[in-house]
Subunit: 340 residues, 3 copies
């Protein structure tokens, strides 16, 4: 499936190895299936490929697929073609993710620091860290085991990046303490001054921004996203939260665990967001709000008030999803009734 110019395939893997990776039970397996050389969509897969079925839209493709193996929910087992080995799990997309990670592991790099990189003498960089050309590591910075600091990335003085971290090309990080397995994509900006001014008729006076950015474990931050450091309190991103490209996180914002923040969202200063919150693309949140855990905020919403846990909202100004949809419908009727 993947272009070998860019992606190196590992494997092959046996049925048993795949079952282990996917956390699945083997079923309906013809004795001689495998080894498997790659992942492949149902429609393109052959006897040496492993595929998956998660979305019911693809059941027909499943029934007619030539895949040698498929990761699938137990209730779909009886619709499989006879030649197919099955890997049964209640979470086939998760299973696929782990199998695909095994076929396409992160590329290994050699560890020599290029001449054009610049590492401060008192930085604490683990031996296994890969530092690419043009990267800069500041004074007393700490870079954990297995990190990769990509080309032209900039790690500021004192910054801590936990083990297994990745900082993409041209990204810059200052005033930040990040946990383990944090992925920071290309061009991300973390830790610069927040937008803090004492406004006045003679001009606006800069207020020193004395906090930090604290990032939990397993956080991913998309390309060209910006996260400002706190004013005194810290800006915080909780464990497992995934942030897409071009998102703005202002000073003192707290985001909880396992949130999903889609592209071009903006969160204003000091707003606090619970766990497992979903923020749709281009949504905007004003400052000093509380967004309860499990809330879902539709794309392009304009959130100006606190949101109760578990609530779904939409519209600008944002309101409960059902109310918003009613308003949209009412406005449509208003126009059609008038025969305009």
């Amino acid at each position: 499936m993947a272009d070998p110019r860019f992606h190196s395939v590992a494997g092959p893997f046996s049925m048993e190895e795949l079952a282990d990776l996917a956390g699945a039970e083997v079923a309906g397996a013809p004795a001689d299936n495998g080894p498997f050389i790659d992942v492949m969509p149902l429609s393109d897969a052959g006897p040496q490929h492993v595929s998956f079925l998660d979305n019911k839209l693809y059941v027909e493709a499943f029934e007619s697929s030539n895949a040698g193996a498929c990761i699938v929910r137990p209730e779909m087992a009886d619709r499989a073609p006879g030649h197919m080995a099955l890997l049964l799990t209640d979470t086939p997309y998760h299973g696929y993710a782990r199998v695909a990670q095994a076929f396409y592991p992160s590329p290994s790099r050699d560890g020599a620091v290029p001449q054009t990189a610049c590492v401060a003498a008192d930085a604490m960089v683990a031996n296994s860290v890969v530092i690419e050309a043009g990267a800069v590591i500041g004074k007393k910075a700490e870079i954990g085991d297995g990190c990769r600091i990509a080309t032209n990335a900039v790690i500021g003085d004192g910054v801590v990046i936990g083990e297994g971290g990745y900082v993409g090309p041209g990204a810059s990080i200052s005033h930040c303490i990040a946990g383990a397995r944090v992925t920071v994509h290309a061009g991300v900006r973390i830790g610069q001054d927040g937008f803090g001014f004492a406004l006045g008729p003679d001009g606006h006076l800069k207020v020193p921004q004395l906090g930090r950015v604290i990032i939990g474990d397993d956080v991913e931050i998309g390309a060209n996203t910006t996260i400002d450091r706190g004013t005194g309190p810290d800006t915080m991103i909780g464990d497992g939260t995934k942030i897409d490209n071009l998102v703005q996180i202002a000073h003192n914002v707290k985001i909880g665990r396992h949130c999903v923040v889609v592209s071009q969202v903006g969160v204003s200063g000091s707003t606090e967001i619970g766990d497992f919150v979903m923020l749709g693309g281009q949504a905007g949140l004003t400052g000093h709000l509380n967004i309860g855990s499990g809330a879902r905020i539709a794309a392009q919403s304009g959130v100006m008030r606190d949101i109760e846990p578990g609530t779904t909202v939409g519209g600008s100004p944002a309101k409960p999803m059902r109310t918003w949809l009613k308003e949209v419908a009412a406005l449509e009727r208003l126009v059609s009734k008038k025969g305009n």
Copy 2:
């Protein structure tokens, strides 16, 4: 017109050369006009300058202009002052663009690779390529004739940039095959992982992103725009499409030929866009949509459904432009009627 500190003027050009460049016919030309030393707006131009008239708002400025020559539609010829030579064409703004390109060609650079640049030993870089300070070219990357890779730009392993390409300062490109004459402005991010996770109550699992970004000929991509690579299928940008600054293009998006995508637009995963589509600033499109060729999407629209070819839509959620404008008007009347 242009500050010589930043822009070097070429020329001078004769009437005949200008006519050739503009694809225009000479008319009303006093025998001794020219040579011409620069382009200039109608109101500022003198006898040695060439100007243009495209927008009818400027007819008065045309009638009283001192320009030695003007690129103009044939039907305006009889409103020209007697001293002015005319370059007649039905597309005067295109003519002006070509004349201005001739007066202000891309600056030439010397080709020595600076010491702080870093080019992989097995990269295939054409002799005429200019590589500026701090730029990095990855393994087996291919850079075509006449490309310029600007300061601190990063070209990843295996990436192909066709002839005449430009990659601006600090931009980074990976997992990408780009055609000829592609312009990538400063800080653009192409080819990083898409936002793909298997969501779950125990956290979200990263799904390997195994595709590429395929870019056609004559594409322009604005500063700090982000284009993620596909999940397995590719992300694709068609020939001649122009993308403005700070735009987000998610994984698997297909954009057709000669589209215009204005600043801060966001296009979600797997949406397919036809040819000659116009996307206004800050418009957002959800995933898995089909947008027909020739569609026009107003600024700030929130597109949640497929759009028929040639349709103009506005509003959030987006609807046919006429319906949206009626709704806006109906809401205004509702408030004014109530005497609130």
Copy 3:
């Protein structure tokens, strides 16, 4: 308050020094208060700390604070606890900003140019300028006294940066003349081509962008913001204007003095904005508009018409704030009346 890993505290300061810094009068001062070693919020401060009270929400914290000194309005003096020295001023937040700036001055850097930086032979760089690793300064560029050009920042040919400027990591600037004390945060893109094309059915032709970006004194520009150069006229940002992260400023835009532009705003080409205008987050302005001085534009507004000076607008399309709020309320009533 601030983590010494990232922030170095200066001081201590006496009451008299603090009064001087804050432009305040000393009152109610127990003779032996001070010296003061840090700024601290009211709730956390002890006898050696200076705090401030600006927002009336914190009056209770003020009354019970252990702070040794507090910057506060004269009318609050009689509510202070007896142990507290007072620094009386009508603008306590400004006073705090100046005191905090004194406690946390910009870190000093040594001036040696690192080997991986690249400064053109004919660039005019003042002796006191700090140039960090990987930074690139172009031909005939001029960098004023006391500037800091951070890691991997790129200053293009001919660019002028006035005294006391800061250009953050990975930022790039071309075709620009900037005044004194301009702060450009990480990843900012200034001076690239505007989005100018002669559109047509056979494709879109690039129009040379022959202008510059002119930036006044005391301007601040947030991370990953983009400011395109003019088409012939210049793009201009007035003295004291503060621009947040991920903002788009198109070609030929003129922004006046002391404006505040919040994150993710987009301003289209040739729009002119007066002085002291406030643009809320994610607001979008179409091109060729006039926005009067003192106008306030709410977050997510879609501005499609000129705005009178001093007016407040909201909504998309934007209208006077009062009208917009009435429409929002009318739509709510429409739905609730119908018992839907």
